[in-house]
Amino acid sequence: MNIHEYQAKQIFAQYDVPTPRGIIANTPDEAVANAKELGGDIWVVKAQIHAGGRGLGGGVKLAKSLEEVRTLASEILGMTLVTHQTGPEGKLVHKVYIEEGADIKDELYLGVVLDRAREMPVIMASTEGGMAIEDVAHDTPEKIIKIAVDPAIGFQGFHGRELVFGLGITDKNEQKKMIDFASKLYKLYMEKDAEMIEINPLIKNGAGDFLALDGKMGFDDSALGRHPDIEAMRDISEEDADEREASQYGLSYIALDGEIGCMVNGAGLAMGTMDTINYMGGTPANFLDVGGSANAETVAKGFEIILKNPKVKAIFVNIFGGIVRCDRIANGILEATKITDVNVPVIVRLDGTNAPEAAEILKNANIANIIVGTDLGDGAAKAVAAAKGA
């Protein structure tokens, strides 16, 4: 689960990770009131969406008067912000964060993420703050410092020294501040079960203080049960409505661009089915894993969600029953044809547990739209042909 910048900064504050002061606003009036409360004569108006690249997309603007705060907040609230991470459809801005202006002397990058190969968190830092870190990693990988921290020993002095010498920080007072900053960030990462934290940029101001100018955080979904404070930060408007609806039924759904709807059990086979459709010259319309507890109701729901997409010209149901019993899926398909108007060909391949019973159920139902696939390859080929013929 991801959260907004302003929420990340609330968590930073709990851990004494320094940030500029700021207040969240839902309306231009609130934005102006917040700016007054913060004081000073320069403010930053920042769109709050779950995507990077907001500045380049026009979602982060500098205001030099309260009137300008109002104008910019009015422009940004309600705009559809398109960045390299939102996709071409962009994201609607519901909130702006009003933050005091900062005196930027230096821009750095600091993040914490799980290093899967080493199986421990790794602190990543770079002197190239403010740039897309993927570009830095690609163009100048030597400018990224990676410091793995074994949770068995936690963040030690040597990790801190590696960090500050790597960043070329020579002032002893600044070294101390940076080490303190990173150790708090690591503590937060561990205690809150974060999946990733990214501060880009982390700035040094004129006084030699380090501040998190931005903040991006994602959390381990499996650990949210023990963090009700984080769960409470969930912003439903940031999530895809269909994906969310599907998840309420235990279905894992992701929309794609193609024409063949897919309903599969297991994430691996679901991806493998998409790959097979692609390999045979078709295009998958979605990823859909019905999970291990699929029943008639969830299958019917799956059909409903797939068919919401007007581009779908055929549906390929590919089930290899282990825990999932094929007869239940077959009944679900019949159920779906009663509840929803299934107006495209449905290619069904059911193998594994109770497959013969399932074949019998489908045969007896005698529904015109249903085409039986004998195996994965045969089913995919028939789905591709059906989509082309439609």
């Binding site: 870190i133 994602g218 691996g268 790959d275």
Partner: protein
Amino acid sequence: MSILVNKDTKVIVQGFTGKEGTFHAEQCLAYGTNIVGGVTPNKGGQEHLGKPVFNTVKEAVNTTGATVSMIFVPPAFVADAVMEAADADIDLAVIITEGAPVRDMQAAKAYAVKHGMKTIGPNCPGIITAEECKIGIMPGMIFKKGNVGLISKSGTLTYEGANQVCNEGYGISTAVGIGGDPIIGLSYKQLLPMFEADPQTEAIVMIGEIGGDLEIQAAAFIKENITKPVVAFIAGQTAPAGKRMGHAGAIVSGGAGTAKEKMEALEAAGVKVVVSPAEIGKAVAEVLGRK
């Protein structure tokens, strides 16, 4: 022969009396797995599915001589269960539970490694030595005994692959579902040499997917150490980039993690890579036929 488990392996079940534990332990017993007991705190002394229940893993191990534990406890208790198994000198823990927090698994795995305990999973179908021992949740009937070893991150692709191999007239020695979580126990790199050393296994199928770099590590290992033919499929060639993957997470392995990259690395290591999982069976027939 086979790897890791066979008909003589003594198995206990942690989370024995729960709904999932009961259902699958029953299936494993029916398959012929030598389940010698189970562990559920505060139910010690009872009998379940005709086997003794113990309060602790230590007690279960001391009484039964079990060397393998199959773990079905709820996600929040997985780390505790794995560490208890390691502490009780279990040799191999097979963790079926889905949804264990990553931080918990990090700590549990580190502890297991320190105690010399191997782990499989979490969030996996388990391990099966065909017609001898099933420790997990896979449908046993599709695994016919034979000479192909199988390693897969995905449960249903394990079934798909095994089924195709058997339909081609071959069979499975041992199949291991290693799971697709960010932190897992035994991986390709540890399992490949076991299959290489197993006289029954003549070919190896490895099924991977996008994310992480375990398949890239496997490719480098295969190139240097594996002489038996390997067939591979990597799921997710058509998966959209960035979905479910943290922004910063994408750079740690320096761009590694796409299906294309993994397929290229495996091909360069001499592996027969198939573009669709529908081709796994045919590819196995081809590499075994060529021998």
